[in-house]
Every structure is written in C-alpha cells, then in structure tokens.
C-alpha cells in the first residue's frame, strides 16, 4: 500500500463520518460544509501529493512540506475565529431570549393577579 492510498482512504473516512453525523442530526448542516471541504482536501492532496511541490515552487517556498503545515494551521485559526463569531451571535440571542422571558413572566404574573385562574377560582380582591 502506498501513502497516497492511505491518505485517500483517510479523506474518504473523514468525509463519510461527517455525512453520517449530518444524517444522524449530530452536526448542523452549515457546519458540515467546512468539514466536507477538509475531507475533500485531505483526499485530494493524499492522492496527488506532488501538488504541494508545484504550489510551493510557484509560491517560492523552499521546503514544500511546510506549506501543508502552515495552510493547516491557518485554516484551523480561521475555523476557530468563525466559531467564536458564531458563539458571540448565539450569546446575544440567548441574552435577548432570557430578558424577553423575564418580561413575559412579569406580564403573565400581572395578568394572573387581575384575572381569575379558573372559573371556580376567582382572584382575590
């Protein structure tokens, strides 16, 4: 077995796992796109590792394997940043929801204080 085949199998396994996670509702659709892209890249570069040599030469990089490390690292950082942006968006929504819930509960309590809870249970006063 060559290392190209190993990489190809690894990429396909990752892609399959991600699709399975989406299918079982463990991974929200939009997030899956990123990971499918990762899986495809791993499979592609695993099948044609010479691609790195060509790109590295084109970019003027003397040691081609370092390109893979730098690219991988950079993409991870981008992914982490987008995750934090998404978390901030969710934090805002959670806070607004909590506030809204407090407002609605106060309104409900005020209504219950003025209206009978059931026909046989009139409100006091």
């Amino acid at each position: 077995m060559t290392y190209q085949v190993t990489s190809l199998v690894l990429g396909l396994l990752i892609a399959g796992t991600i699709l399975w996670l989406v299918r079982r509702d463990h991974l929200h659709g939009p997030f899956a796109f990123w990971w499918i892209g990762v899986a495809a890249t791993v499979a592609l570069l695993g099948s044609w590792p010479r691609m790195f040599d060509w790109i590295a030469v084109f970019l003027g990089i003397g040691y081609p394997p370092i390109l893979a490390v730098v690219l991988g690292f950079g993409l991870l950082l981008v992914k982490m940043l987008t995750m934090d942006i998404e978390r901030s968006r969710q934090e805002r929504r959670v806070r607004r929801l909590a506030q809204r819930m407090a407002l609605l509960e106060a309104r409900q309590r005020a209504l219950e204080d003025t209206l009978p809870l059931s026909p046989s249970e009139p409100a006091d006063g």
Binding site: S88, E91, R92, V94, R95, R96, A98, Q99, R100, M101, A102, L103, E105, A106, A110
Partner: protein
C-alpha cells in the same frame, strides 16, 4: 398614596442576592416616584425576589445570570416596551439614596441632557482611581464617575440602550458610555451623596481575578472603538456641580 410632587421616573434596580437591603430600597424608591419600581432579579438564590415583590416592586426574574448590565438592560427593555419617558437605575446594595432621584432627572426634564450620572468619585480607593484614570484616558471619556450605577435615562436613550446593539456588553460603564457618545447622546454628571456598601460585595471588585478580567475586557473594548466620536465627545460631555460628593 405617593409623596407630593412625586415624578414619573420608572426606577430600575438590578439585584443579585440583596435580600438585606432590597425591601427598604424599594420602599424608599416608591416614596419618591409615582411610577413602577422594577427589581430585576439576576438569578438570586436568596429571597431577594420575594422581598422585593412584598415591598411593592414589579419583579423581572431572569432565568440566567446576565450580569449587572444584562439585568439593567432587561429593565430598560421593560421601560421601552411600556414607552416610559424616564428611567432611573439604582444599585441594590444601598449605596444610592432614592432621595437624590429628582436631582438626576432634573437636567433631563429641563432638556439639558439625555443621560445623567449620579457621581461621587470621592468615595474611591486609590487603586480604583488609578484604574478609572487609565480607562477614562483610553476611552477618551471626560466624565469623573464612570462606574456609577446611579443614572437617569430619557426615552431615546432608553430605547437605544434596550436595542440588541448594547446586548453583548458585560458592564454598564465604559462600553455603555462609548455607545452613548457614538450616538451623540448628551451625558452629564450630577454630584450626589453615596453611602458605603453595607452588604454583599461588588461585582467587579470582589477579587483580583475579576478586576484583571474587567480591566482586560474594557481595554479591548476601548481599543476596538478607539477614536469613535472622541473629538466631539469632549464638547458634549460636561460635568455639573462639584466633583466631590454632594453633602
């Protein structure tokens, strides 16, 4: 029922485990305003909510602990929803005197300001004064008492601060002041007396870790908004009365 001359300032009191002082504070606030006194219970584990309700307050109970600003914003959303013209925020720990509410709302009623801050910078320790000096310099804020929770807001300030734009703030001080400045709200200070905290502990100054986290967060906030409206803010922010506390 209400004191003669009582005004229509909705009073908002964010509270977290303040059962020792909340009842008396609600009573005192109710005596000087004909408007609802609203206690925002920020997930208290003691009897704060029940005691506030027993004292006649409307209680908004947050299902999650949202911090001081999250609680105040809940109150501002309540005021915005009911289209209230004026809202005054008070700390629940007994530092602020309800009798000073009229002094805060007077400049708004006179059309001189949109937001008024009850200031008492003389109450601070040296360490806090240094921290404030740094934050004022970094944020380009010319107010003295940037952390005071004793504030009065007019209708347009209430509606702006109730919006989602102000939801991701964690503290009510520099971030809120910078937002107000960016939108051109006239913010002034009025010297008022303040009591030393009698119960509980400050949400910011309860440990060195919290202080460090507060300083770091606020520094990032100031750096990210560096220069936004700095020039005209100096002209619009001005101070009334004495920089020392009123007696």
């Amino acid at each position: 029922m209400f004191a003669i001359g009582a005004t229509l300032n909705m009073v908002l009191i964010p509270a977290l485990n303040e059962e020792a002082s909340i009842g008396a504070l609600v009573g005192a606030a109710g005596a000087v305003t004909a408007a609802p006194v609203v206690v925002i219970d920020d997930g208290s584990t003691d009897d704060t909510a029940a005691l506030a309700r027993a004292a006649g307050a409307t209680v908004l109970s947050l299902p999650l602990n949202l911090g001081a600003w999250g609680a105040i914003q809940t109150g501002l959303r309540y005021a915005a929803k009911s289209q209230w013209p004026l809202a005054v925020t008070l700390d629940a720990d007994g530092q602020h005197e309800a009798e000073s509410i009229d002094a805060l709302t007077a400049p708004i009623l006179a059309g001189e300001a949109d937001v008024v801050i009850g200031a008492c910078p003389g109450r601070l320790s040296l360490a806090r004064r240094i921290a404030w000096h740094y934050l004022r310099w970094l944020g380009g804020i010319s107010l003295d008492d940037i952390t005071s929770g004793f504030r009065a807001y007019n209708r347009s300030a209430i509606e702006y601060l109730a919006s989602s734009e102000a939801t991701l703030l964690d503290y009510q001080d520099v971030g809120v002041l910078m937002l107000l400045r960016r939108r051109g709200f006239r913010t002034i200070e009025v010297a008022v007396p303040m009591q030393p905290r009698q119960y509980g502990s400050s949400r910011v100054f309860d440990s060195w870790w919290t202080v460090g986290s507060y300083m770091a967060q606020t520094t990032v906030l100031c750096l990210a908004r560096l220069g936004s409206g700095r020039g005209w803010a100096r002209r619009r922010h001005y101070r009334r009365g004495d920089s020392r506390c009123a007696s």
